[in-house]
């Protein structure tokens, strides 16, 4: 199906500079994918949502009580067609609430089952994830999501157990991860979220768990189609050297590509909700063509299963058609959307490097890098990022990136900044400032 009409389930649009210089052999494309608001799928798909809760010793008391309440509230928000379950883990995992439909009766039973949950023991992420996988493989056609919560490091994990379990979970379910408090490691939790197509976020304290879970349940419930793939056709002699999601967050997907034929590679892009949109960057290496020649360099499409049949959606505006020219004025142009995301990536890198420098006591570098981040965030009107940065630095002049490190910084503020550093501001149709 090729369509740019509003009723198409997905719309693709590619942004790039179509004129390469003579001998030009590479280009960068930003492809925007948007799911239709209405009519994304013909019939609603079954949803399965599991809560994977850390019940280690440190969770004992307020934390586990707050989580129990939040789970109950979250489950109450589910519709009756959804299936839910609860798993708790320490060094081992166990089912607290076996998967069942979210009917009123089952919700009440779940509440009772949760009552007995209390905190004790160590922490081994893989046990909870593996148990979730074992349950969710029984629903191969459903939209399968998990909400994972921990408050500490993965310290009781058996050596070598984590990687294989995580690998086995890929493609079975998607997982949003929450770290409660500040005694957990951003990298560990992000690893789970990244591999399982979700987001890692920080919850400052027990009082904020309910709101976080409500948002997570809403997000899970909004998904209408699962196992969507981005399929890229390119001609012989062309290489796709990079594929990165750039919005809502920066994720390098290059390694997850599967070549399904000599000229076609597919990348899993997870489940989508109506109206959802994401931007992807594609770097392409092409054989230089003759002056004036036109070449279709990449043709992206969106692929998913519906009623047992594969659907492939293309848009004319998604095609990447390039030509070669001696006109330097044309070939030196940079597409505004491409430039925007290049800038957002630079911003993410500045934040990460700045936080790392601060961590190891290199205040001079930290000041310079976080100052650069403030400047970039200001230039791209990324107010969210500026607000986060301001919890870590005092800003003297945003335009020039002049900042001072705050003497005492809330650990939650630096962890939150680190977690959100890869969240980008979406490129708008008309950029405010010229790059």
């Amino acid at each position: 199906m090729a369509s740019s009409d509003p009723t198409a389930p997905f719309h693709l649009e590619s942004y790039y500079t179509p004129t390469l210089p003579e001998g030009g052999d590479h280009l960068t494309v930003v492809t925007s994918i948007e799911a239709a608001q209405a009519g994304l799928v013909a019939a609603p798909q079954q949803r399965v949502l599991l809560f994977i809760i850390d019940k280690s010793g440190s969770m004992s008391g307020n934390p586990i009580e707050a989580v129990k309440q939040a789970v109950i509230q979250g489950v109450n928000a589910l519709d009756e067609q959804s299936i839910f379950g609860v798993i708790a883990f320490d060094e081992t995992a166990s089912i607290v609430v076996p998967p069942r439909p979210a009917t009123p009766g089952d919700k009440t039973n779940a509440s009772s089952a949760l009552h007995w949950l209390h905190g004790s023991g160590g922490t081994a992420f893989s046990t909870g994830l593996d148990l979730a996988r074992g349950l969710l493989v029984n629903y191969p056609d459903a939209i399968r999501r998990a909400i994972f919560l921990t408050d500490g490091n993965n310290e009781t994990e058996r050596p070598g157990a984590f990687e294989p379990v995580l690998n086995a979970c890929v493609g079975v379910f998607e997982c949003d991860c929450w770290g409660l408090g500040t005694k957990w490691t951003v990298g560990e939790v992000q690893e789970v979220a990244r591999r399982l197509n979700g987001k890692a976020s920080l919850i400052p304290g027990p009082g904020e768990v309910a709101a976080a879970f409500r948002a997570a349940v809403e997000k899970a419930a909004s998904k209408a189609v699962a196992n969507v793939r981005l399929r890229l056709w390119s001609p012989q002699g062309t290489q796709l050297t990079l594929l990165k999601q750039m919005n809502p967050t920066i994720e390098d997907l290059s390694a997850s590509g599967v070549r399904i034929s000599p000229q076609v590679v597919e990348y899993p892009i997870g489940s989508w909700a109506p109206g959802e949109s994401r931007d992807y960057q594609i770097d392409v290496a092409v054989p230089p063509g003759g002056l004036g020649e036109e070449m279709l360099a990449v043709r992206p499409s969106v692929v998913y299963q519906q009623a047992g049949q594969e659907q492939e959606i293309r848009s004319p505006a998604g095609r990447v058609v390039i030509t070669w020219t001696t006109d330097e004025a044309l070939s030196s142009r940079i597409n505004p959307r491409v430039a925007h995301y290049t800038g957002q990536e630079e911003l993410a890198q500045a934040i990460q490097a700045g936080l790392e420098a601060r961590e190891r006591g290199d205040d001079e570098s930290a000041t310079r890098l976080l100052g650069k981040a403030v400047r970039l965030a200001t230039e791209s009107d990324n107010d969210d990022m500026t607000a986060r940065l301001k919890r870590v630095v005092d800003v003297e002049d945003a335009a020039s990136g002049t900042v001072r490190l705050k003497r005492s910084v809330d650990k939650a503020a630096t962890m939150d900044l680190e977690l959100e550093s890869t969240t980008t501001k979406r490129a708008t149709r008309r950029p405010v400032a010229n790059p």
Binding site: E13, Y16, P18, P235, E294, L296, R319, V321, A329
Partner: protein, 351 residues
């Protein structure tokens, strides 16, 4: 064959009706026969693959389906021993977007007077339709110029009208209306619209009337002793700056846009609908022994100085060869220098 629109009889092979520019098809509704097949369905991609996706791109190498015209890669026309021309793709461009159209008639009482018409067009822009536009402009201009010699119309006026007719034909062509549907491109559609330059000459009774739009040129040459006079004045950014006194020749020669043309035929050449590019027109005498050379920039860029071009033509004309031989010599010269653009040269030897 007959033109389906106006009924005029067209000599074969012709792509366009000489009178109204209608694209010609033969009775079987296939494209007019060419020296090579130009049916898109059978012309394979340069990579050898014969399958194209619905948008016209090769399913193997991704290149756009070749515009149906390898046929114009090397075109030779020699209606008379003294009137000939060649249009060649050159060495670098994937297809030939230059066009050549030559004509000759005998007019007046008992057809005592010879009239010669030469037209050279150079398709502009990377749009694939530039080639079609150039072919159309050249043939419509030739047809009008030949027609006008059967009337009393003043030569300069006739030239302006012929070029205006060519411009109108380009605007009316279906390709001109189709703006590319490419939301991805930041370029205004103007730079994708097709257009072409033109230089045309009518020679009758020792008078040459030359008209042009763009940077295709006409020269008048003497052979003994060799002399070469540029008759046209390029509509180029360089000339515009220098003529207006805004830059010195040295300064203008530095600018990267020095060779950009400032006028051409077709949708690309006008800023607003309804406008028409103003042609340059010049008239001069031509005497027996002299020669007219019309050419595209694919030739003169390799011999910008008229004196150099004069020497080249003198060399080509040694031994009194036919106009076609002289044309060949010029094409070979340009290709030997690199052939970075399409090359077209048309020659008329006055006797």
């Amino acid at each position: 064959m007959r033109c389906p629109t106006c009924g005029a009889i067209a000599p074969e092979p012709s792509r366009f009706c000489e009178r109204d520019g209608t694209r010609l098809v033969d009775d079987n509704n296939e494209a007019a026969p060419q020296t090579a097949s130009n049916d898109p369905a059978t012309t394979p991609c340069a990579c050898g693959n014969t399958a194209f996706d619905p948008d016209g791109f090769c399913t193997r190498c991704g290149k756009a389906r070749p515009p149906a015209s390898r046929a114009f890669d090397h075109v030779e026309q020699a209606p008379l021993p003294e009137l000939a021309g060649i249009s060649d793709r050159g060495r670098r461009h994937p297809w030939n977007e230059d066009a050549l159209s030559l004509g000759a008639e005998r007019v007046g009482e008992a057809g005592a007077e010879a009239v010669h018409v030469l037209v050279v067009c150079d398709g502009v822009s990377s749009a694939r339709d530039a080639q079609h536009m150039a072919q159309l402009a050249a043939e419509v201009t030739r047809a009008h110029l030949l027609e006008s010699t059967r009337t009393d119309l003043a030569p300069e006026l006739a030239m302006r009208q012929a070029i205006a007719a060519a411009h109108a034909a380009l605007l009316a062509a279906p390709e001109a209306a189709a703006a590319p549907d490419d939301a991805a491109s930041a370029d205004p559609s103007k730079s994708q619209a097709p257009g072409c330059t033109i230089v045309a000459a009518v020679v009758r009774a020792g008078q040459a009337t030359v008209g042009w739009v763009g940077d295709s040129r006409a020269y008048r040459l003497d052979l003994d002793p060799p002399a070469c006079q540029l008759l046209t004045h390029d509509h180029s950014w360089f000339n515009e700056m220098v003529d207006a006194g805004r830059l010195s020749p040295e300064e203008a020669a530095q600018a990267p846009e020095r060779n950009a043309i400032t006028r051409c035929l077709g949708p690309l050449g006008v800023d607003a609908p309804g406008e028409a590019p103003e042609a340059g027109v010049v008239a001069c005498e031509v005497s027996p022994g002299q020669m007219l050379l019309l050419c595209s920039d694919g030739l003169w860029k390799y011999a910008e100085d008229p004196a150099a071009l004069g020497a080249l033509v003198g060399e080509a004309a040694a031994g009194a060869p036919l106009a076609l031989d002289i044309s060949r010599h010029l094409i070979e010269f340009a290709n030997a220098r690199g052939g970075s653009d399409n090359i077209t040269a048309a020659i008329l030897q006055l006797s």
